[in-house]
Amino acid sequence: MGYATNPIKQFDIIEIFSFGSINGFDLVFTNSALMMLVSVAIISGWLILTTRGRGLVPSRLQLVSEITYGFIANMIRTSTGSEGMKFFPLVFSLFTFILVSNILGLYPYFFSVSSQLIVTVALALLVMGIVIFYGVWKNGFKFLKIFVPSGIPLVVLIIVVPIEVLSFLSRPLSLSLRLFGNMLAGAIVVKVFAGFVVSLTAMGLIGIIGAILPLAMTVALTGLEFLVAALQAFVFTILTCVYLNDAIHPGH
């Protein structure tokens, strides 16, 4: 199937140039890597450009950066307390990177980085690695208290503890699959409705009139996808904060 009809074709990773191969592993600069670099360049460029003046009375552009800072800082303070502020750089980077790469993926001919499972799994494993590493380093053996909710009779604990362990183990899975699934499903749905427009207009005059309906649906879905892109970046960040709270204060 061609590019116009196959909804999964848009996620193909295309080689841009190759650095050669080492031990059979191809070192290739792909469109995925290019889009990640573009996202990082946009975030860094935006933040450097808007905070260059550093006016005491912020300009309008500077205000956008300050609101983003305040939004994330407030989120960390409410969910983990002021101790969590040492993770501010991590959470802020995660939020801006996911937000910008989600939104960039919605533009035509752009490649959606966050609809690649390997990217979201890497982000989720980074978060869970930090949670486990910091939790053990800070609390030592007490970190295991996250599996034992307080105030529960001993008999019930036999059932609750395996459930808590299972729930902890499924966190990286659900964290990565949620972002991946939302972005993938959204892109596929928009593509399917756009495909209806193409196939209807090929049917003549009646088809062209009928194609207004899927076209309107495509426009509406694109608007919805902008909402989902921002919401999923927010969800990933808030879950990161909740998991970090477990590492900082184990035991419910």
Binding site: L177, R178, G181, N182, I238
Partner: protein, 74 residues
């Protein structure tokens, strides 16, 4: 039955699971709205609302993933 047809039917059945997630997300937002409209002071629970939404929605995404795996990978 042909394997290709069985894959298509299986993918269709797998997406039924998303309906359950839809019901769950609807209950969460509906209860939030009714609670927030009765007592506007309770509207500050937006973070918990999004947290519950995310946890519920993940299960729907799992079934969507099974459908996509059946269609394009297996």
């Amino acid at each position: 039955m042909e394997v290709e047809a069985a894959k298509m039917i299986g993918a269709g059945i797998a997406t039924i699971g998303m309906g359950g997630a839809g019901i769950g997300v609807g209950i969460i937002f509906g209860n939030y709205l009714s609670g927030a409209l009765r007592n506007p002071a309770a509207a500050g629970q937006f973070t918990n609302l999004i947290f519950g939404f995310a946890v519920t929605e993940a299960l729907g995404i799992f079934s969507l993933l099974i459908a996509l795996l059946l269609l394009f990978v297996v």
